[in-house]
């Protein structure tokens, strides 16, 4: 038997195979992907290394890392980071808690549960911009449904989106309404993958409902929980649409999160270089968090 695998095949043949093999087949999607993701990213990095006000489109001047130094030293950036943390932690914590509770409820079989499961997903099917507009109307101080409903039980008018302390909790509340179904779906899928027999075995072993949850069910669906958190953290860091529609970052700058900050910097005062640097800060934060979370996405079935 010929053990020399390349034996008998000429260099030319091998070269031809290498050129006509995968590279040709993989090239089209690779090029598309490159143009759509890598190229803009690289361009953004390039922009971030320049001082460039779009008022003068040709006026990009190389700033190197000194631009970054300036951006990172800006207390306004860190205020935006703080607001983003507030928004993300608030949203994800509430969504995980509520999502888990709803998933446990919808996981049980009872009459109408199928309809309920479908109904619960509706918010997810709506365009965030539309959600923003609808909620803005619902939350209107004078004509909104929410304040009217509260007035019927004797609660006075609240300026949901116009009060600087109330605005962020309101933003969080709307995002909870909008995206909790996503968490529910993922956790529901996780719960449904746990065999009934395992929780039955736990109940025979002497576990109460909460002990079953704590020691058996939740550890078993841990990868799903981490996955839901990962998606939701990524998604809410870049939550732009609803905030932009409902408050536009205000009142004052009380709801101006990082991405709104980057947007305003880049496209309202046209400091595109500075805007790109803020976006880079966001990118670093996102990648770091996802890398940390991904370490916890490990199946309990593995060793």
């Amino acid at each position: 038997m010929n053990t020399n695998l390349s034996g008998g095949v000429s260099l030319r043949t091998r070269a031809r195979r290498a050129l006509t093999g995968y590279p040709i087949l993989v090239a089209p999607p690779f090029i598309v992907l490159f143009l759509l993701t890598c190229a803009p990213l690289i361009h953004a990095v390039w922009v971030s290394l320049h001082d460039w006000n779009l008022v003068d489109p040709d006026g990009a001047s190389y700033a190197g890392l000194s631009g970054y130094r300036e951006t990172l030293a800006d207390p306004y950036l860190w205020e935006a980071v703080g607001r983003t943390v507030y928004q993300v932690v608030g949203t994800v914590t509430l969504q995980l808690g509520i999502g888990l509770a709803v998933a446990l409820l919808l996981y049980r079989e009872f009459p109408g549960v199928r309809v309920l499961r479908s109904v619960y997903i509706i918010p997810m099917m709506m365009t965030p911009v539309v959600v923003g507009i609808v909620w803005k109307m619902l939350l209107h101080t004078d004509f909104g449904f929410i304040n009217w409903a509260l007035s019927t039980v004797g609660i006075g008018k609240l300026n949901w989106l116009g009060d600087s302390t109330l605005a962020m909790p309101t933003i969080i509340g709307v995002d909870v309404w909008l995206s909790t179904p996503f968490v529910v779906i993922i956790l529901l899928a996780g719960l449904q993958s746990v065999p009934d027999e395992v929780s039955e075995a736990a109940s025979v072993d002497g576990a109460s409902y909460f002990q079953q949850m704590r020691f058996v069910i939740l550890p078993m669906i841990r990868p799903m929980i981490v996955l839901a958190v990962l998606f939701r953290v990524m998604d809410s860091i870049k939550r732009f649409d609803t905030i932009f529609i409902m408050t536009g970052g205000g009142p004052g700058n009380s709801t101006e999160t990082l991405d709104l900050h980057a947007f305003f910097t880049g496209f309202q005062i046209f400091e595109i270089g500075s805007g790109a640097r803020i976006a880079m800060v966001m990118l670093v934060i996102s990648v770091t968090i996802s890398a940390l979370l991904l370490r916890f996405v490990r199946s309990p079935y593995e060793v």
Binding site: V198, E200, A201, V303
Partner: protein, 383 residues
Amino acid sequence: MASVALKKVNKTYPNGFQAIHDLDLEIDDKEFLVLVGPSGCGKSTALRMMAGLEEISGGELWIGDRLVNGVEPRDRDIAMVFQNYALYPHMTVRANIGFALKLAKVPKKEAAARVEAAAKVLELTEQLDKKPGQLSGGQRQRVAMGRAIVRQPSVFLMDEPLSNLDAKLRVQMRSEIARLQHELGVTTIYVTHDQVEAMTMGDRVAVLKDGHLQQVESPQNLYAHPANVFVAGFIGSPAMNLYEADLTGHGLKLGSWTLDLPEGVIASRPALKQHWNRTVIVGIRPEDLEDASLATSPETGQVITSTVLLTEELGSEVIVHFELDATHVDSGDPDAVDEVGATSAVGRFDPRTRVRTGDRVDVAVAVENLHFFDPTSRMSIWD
């Protein structure tokens, strides 16, 4: 340790399907009772009701001197072994076995010792720090057993615990479980659809069909005196041959053959006289059919001459299918595959037999071992 008693227990599902009908069953302390029946007979439902995993629609369930109808599974002092083992995949074997002790707040030292002891009995000591995913099927099964025995409960409930094992391992674990149960002396209710498990493991066997209890007996009595046609056909492999036959002046008219029934046969079954000159269902166990040339002094008049349809050589015996032109009776076992046509019989011949497919063969019938059943009630005819 405790006895278990089911009194007129019923199970009706919300859709109206009644899975269990007035089940009366008493299991003594330390007894090993096997609940057997074809698929869908309600045996698992019955067991799950005892475990508390399924609500009881009617009747009473007693464990020891406690009425436990409304008691949560965790307060019933039972341990259950599931068909799929239902191990906790994220826990080590040690944690799996010790989980119940942890919940029961057994002091850590004692719990650890008990887990070690259980692991030793089940030869799992080497595997204690592995996770279920790293174990073989047989080892997982033993972990499931370990989880049950470490608790020292009053009752073991086992739901087809061996059905996911390969044949060889199943035979081994069968005797292992029987031995363990005997040593521990824990009342055990064991559900299976495998009648070999039922016959070899149980002190008594309860046969269930369509939610109705058919018979509860020791394995030997169940085999020797099946109460009705269903039990007769269900217990024993190959299954009992069941035909319609007429009791006439000369004996038993079976198809085109007439078998002499000696006085002794009739005397030992007095009720048979009332069925004279009528049709009955007759049951012949395969081992009561033998190659006449090998049978010990076959009586003429108790021999059928027939054509061999198929032989299955098992080494220690030869299963012979041959023609018999009597009307075949269905025992009502939904899992049974009907015999080739409905006009054949199955005999278990001595391995020295020379018969081959297509041969003419004289078959001796051991008439003293025949079973008779009433064709309308399908109950056995004895006295």
